[in-house]
C-alpha cells in the first residue's frame, strides 16, 4: 500500500527514446527556402520595388537554418521533436513565398498598389518600424488597461450578482439593458463625455470586455454545485471562505470563457476607437495607410495586428491551462 504513487504524464508529446539523426522534412523545407531565395534574387522584378536582395538574404538564412536543424535536430531532444512537427508547415510556407513573389514582384499579375509583394512588406518593416512599433505599444497599452479594468469589474460584478440577492436586484436590470448594446454604440457619447480620447477609448474597451465576463462569471457562480457549499459549511467555513475558496474556483472555467469572449470584443472596439478617436495605435495606422494609399503599410500593420491579437489570446490560454490544470479534456490552443 505504501509503495503506491502516481505520475502525471505531460499531455501531448510522448518523448521517444531516440529520434532518427537526420530530419528529411527539414532538409526539404531548407531546400525550398533556399530555392525561394534563389528565385527572388536571380529573377528580374517586373515592378519597381526595393529590398529584393534583403528578402532573398532573409529566405536564404531561414533555409540555411532549416538545413542546419535537419542535420542536428536529434541533439535537441524535446525541442527538436517539436520542430519536426513544424516541418510540413515550413515547406508549405516556403512554397507560398515563391508563389506570392511570382504573382506580385516577378510577374505583376497582382498589380500595385492594391497588392503588396513580399519585399514590399519587408521594406515597410525596415523603414517604418519606429512608427509601427509605437503604434503597437499604444494599442497594447490601451487594450491592456481597458481589458484589465473591464475584466476585473466584470469578475467582481459577476461574483456579486451570483452571490447576493440584493446586488442582483439592482445590477441585473442594468446588465440586461446595457450589456447587449455594442460598446461601439457609446462611441460618440464617450468621446464627448470623457476629457481625453484616450480615457474614452479605455472606457469603451473596458465596457466591451465587461459584459461577457460579468455574464459568464455570474452564470458560473450560480451554477456551482450546492453540495460544495454544504460540504464547506459542515466543516466550519465562513461566508468569505465560501466565496473565495468555493464559489470562485468552481466558477473559474466559466470565467475564462467570459474572458475569451471579452478579449475578442475588446479587440474590435480597440480598432474602431483608434480609427475614429485616438489618432494613435494600429487602428489609426491602418487608416492612415489607407488615406495615403500605402497598401503595403496596411498589410504590414494587419500582419502585426494579427500577431498581437493571437499572442494575447495565446497568453490567456496559457494562463488558463496553468490555473485550470485540474480540468481534463480542454481545448489546446
Amino acid at each position: 500500500m505504501s509503495a503506491s504513487g502516481i505520475t502525471v504524464a505531460a499531455p501531448g508529446v510522448t518523448p521517444r527514446a531516440s529520434a532518427p539523426a537526420l530530419w528529411l522534412g527539414g532538409l526539404l523545407a531548407g531546400g525550398i527556402w533556399l530555392g525561394a531565395a534563389a528565385f527572388t534574387a536571380w529573377l528580374p522584378d517586373e515592378i519597381e520595388v526595393g529590398r529584393t536582395q534583403e528578402l532573398a538574404l532573409l529566405a536564404a538564412v531561414l533555409g540555411g537554418l532549416a538545413v542546419l536543424a535537419a542535420l542536428t535536430s536529434g541533439l535537441f531532444g524535446e525541442a527538436g521533436l517539436k520542430l519536426r512537427k513544424a516541418g510540413p508547415w515550413l515547406s508549405v510556407l516556403g512554397l507560398a513565398l515563391i508563389g506570392w513573389e511570382w504573382l506580385t514582384a516577378k510577374s505583376g499579375t497582382l498589380p500595385l498598389p492594391f497588392f503588396a509583394s513580399p519585399q514590399g512588406l519587408l521594406e515597410v518593416y525596415l523603414e517604418d518600424w519606429p512608427r509601427l512599433g509605437e503604434s503597437v505599444l499604444r494599442s497594447l497599452w490601451l487594450l491592456l488597461t481597458g481589458y484589465a479594468i473591464g475584466a476585473f469589474a466584470g469578475f467582481v460584478a459577476g461574483v456579486a450578482l451570483g452571490w447576493s440577492k440584493a446586488i442582483g436586484y439592482w445590477v441585473h436590470p442594468v446588465l440586461r439593458l446595457i450589456g447587449p448594446l455594442p460598446a461601439t454604440a457609446w462611441l460618440p457619447i464617450a468621446f464627448f463625455v470623457f476629457p481625453t480620447s484616450g480615457s474614452a477609448s479605455t472606457f469603451l474597451v473596458a465596457l466591451a470586455a465587461w459584459f461577457p465576463v460579468t455574464v459568464l462569471t455570474w452564470s458560473g457562480v450560480v451554477g456551482v454545485n450546492r453540495n460544495y457549499y454544504d460540504i464547506a459549511r459542515t466543516l466550519g467555513a465562513s461566508q468569505t471562505f465560501l466565496v473565495l475558496k468555493v464559489a470562485i474556483p468552481a466558477a473559474l472555467p466559466q470565467v475564462f470563457v467570459g474572458l475569451f469572449m471579452g478579449l475578442g470584443a475588446s479587440f474590435s472596439v480597440l480598432v474602431v476607437a483608434e480609427m475614429l478617436g485616438v489618432k494613435a495605435g494600429l487602428g489609426w495606422y491602418l487608416q492612415w495607410a489607407q488615406g495615403w494609399a500605402a497598401y503595403g503599410n496596411m498589410y504590414a500593420a494587419l500582419v502585426v495586428m494579427a500577431l498581437m491579437c493571437s499572442g494575447l489570446t495565446t497568453l490567456l490560454f496559457k494562463s488558463r491551462d496553468r490555473l485550470l490544470a485540474w480540468q481534463k479534456g480542454t481545448v489546446r490552443w
Binding site: V8, L252, W326
Partner: protein, 261 residues
C-alpha cells in the same frame, strides 16, 4: 493497511444526540412529500448506531438535519442538549456522493476543514495522518478526476476525519468500495471509533455491515420513514459475520425489511 494514529485532541468525547418527534417533508411542485414521520432516537455519547432502510425512505434527509444543513418541519434535533440550528465542525457529515472539489488535490481536499477554520498552520500534520488512515498515501498530489470511485469515497472520509469531530455522520461511506477494501475500512472505522470515543451514525444498505459495526441498528420503514425496529447488537469487537448471534439478528432485520423469502 497502515495504522495511522489520528490522535484526537483529548477533549473530543462523543456527542449525545437527541431526535425528538421529528417529521420532515419536502415541497414537490404543489403537494408536500412527507419523508420522515415522527422519528425519535436517543443516541448516547460514544455510541455507534446504524440506520437501515429501503432506498428513498429518508435516511440522508435525517443526517442532513443532524448536520444542521436543514431544519426539521416538526420536532427537534438536539446535540448535547442544544438545538441544532446550523452546521458546526464538531458534527461532520460524510456525504453519500464524495463531492470532492475537482480543483483541489487530494491533499488540499482533505485539508479543507482545517483551512476553513484557520488551523492548517498548527495542525497540518493531521492531513497526512488522515490520508494514510484511508490508505491513500502516495496520492496526495492527485486530482479527483484521477481517482477511482472508491478512492474518492475514501478521500471524503479522510476529509471528515481530519476535523476530529465529536459526531460522525456517515452516509453509506463504504458504498462504492470493493469487498476487500470495504472489509479493511470497516475494521479501521471500528478502531477509529473505539480510539476516539466519538459518536457515530452510519447509514447503510448492507445489513451485515450494520451488524458488524454498530451497537444498535435502527430499521426504517419505506417513505415516509418511521422506526420499524430496533436491534441491539450486544457483541464484542472485532465481530465475525458467521457469529450465530449476528446471523440471527440478520434474519430479524431482513424480516423487518420484508426480505425473508
Amino acid at each position: 493497511m497502515v495504522s495511522a494514529n489520528l490522535q484526537t485532541a483529548g477533549s473530543a468525547a462523543g456527542m449525545a444526540v437527541g431526535i425528538h418527534g421529528v417529521s420532515h417533508s419536502f415541497q414537490l411542485e404543489d403537494r408536500p412529500l412527507p419523508v420522515l414521520d415522527d422519528v425519535s432516537i436517543d443516541v448516547q455519547p460514544g455510541e455507534f448506531v446504524a440506520l437501515l432502510g429501503p432506498s428513498g425512505c429518508g435516511k440522508s434527509t435525517l443526517l442532513r438535519l443532524l448536520a444542521g444543513l436543514d431544519q426539521p418541519s416538526e420536532g427537534r434535533v438536539v446535540g448535547d442538549g442544544a438545538d441544532i440550528t446550523a452546521p458546526d465542525p464538531s458534527r461532520v457529515l460524510v456525504f453519500q456522493d464524495p463531492t470532492l472539489y475537482p480543483w483541489r488535490t487530494v491533499q488540499a481536499n482533505v485539508a479543507l476543514g482545517l483551512e476553513a477554520r484557520g488551523l492548517l498552520k498548527t495542525q497540518g500534520h493531521r492531513v497526512g495522518d488522515a490520508i494514510r488512515l484511508v490508505g491513500l498515501a502516495g496520492f496526495e498530489a492527485a486530482y479527483p478526476h484521477q481517482l477511482s470511485g472508491g478512492m474518492a469515497q475514501r478521500v471524503a472520509l479522510a476529509r471528515a476525519l481530519v476535523n476530529d469531530p465529536r459526531l460522525l455522520l456517515l452516509d453509506e461511506p463504504l458504498g462504492k468500495l470493493d469487498s476487500l477494501t470495504r472489509l479493511s475500512m470497516q475494521g479501521e472505522l471500528v478502531s477509529l471509533w473505539q480510539r476516539s470515543g466519538l459518536t457515530a451514525l452510519l447509514v447503510t444498505h448492507d445489513v451485515e455491515e450494520a451488524l458488524i459495526l454498530a451497537q444498535r441498528v435502527i430499521v426504517f420503514s419505506p417513505r415516509p420513514a418511521r422506526i420499524a425496529a430496533e436491534l441491539v447488537v450486544d457483541r464484542p469487537y472485532p465481530r465475525h459475520r458467521d457469529d450465530p448471534h449476528l446471523v440471527e439478528l440478520r434474519r430479524q432485520a431482513l424480516a423487518v425489511l420484508g426480505l425473508d423469502s
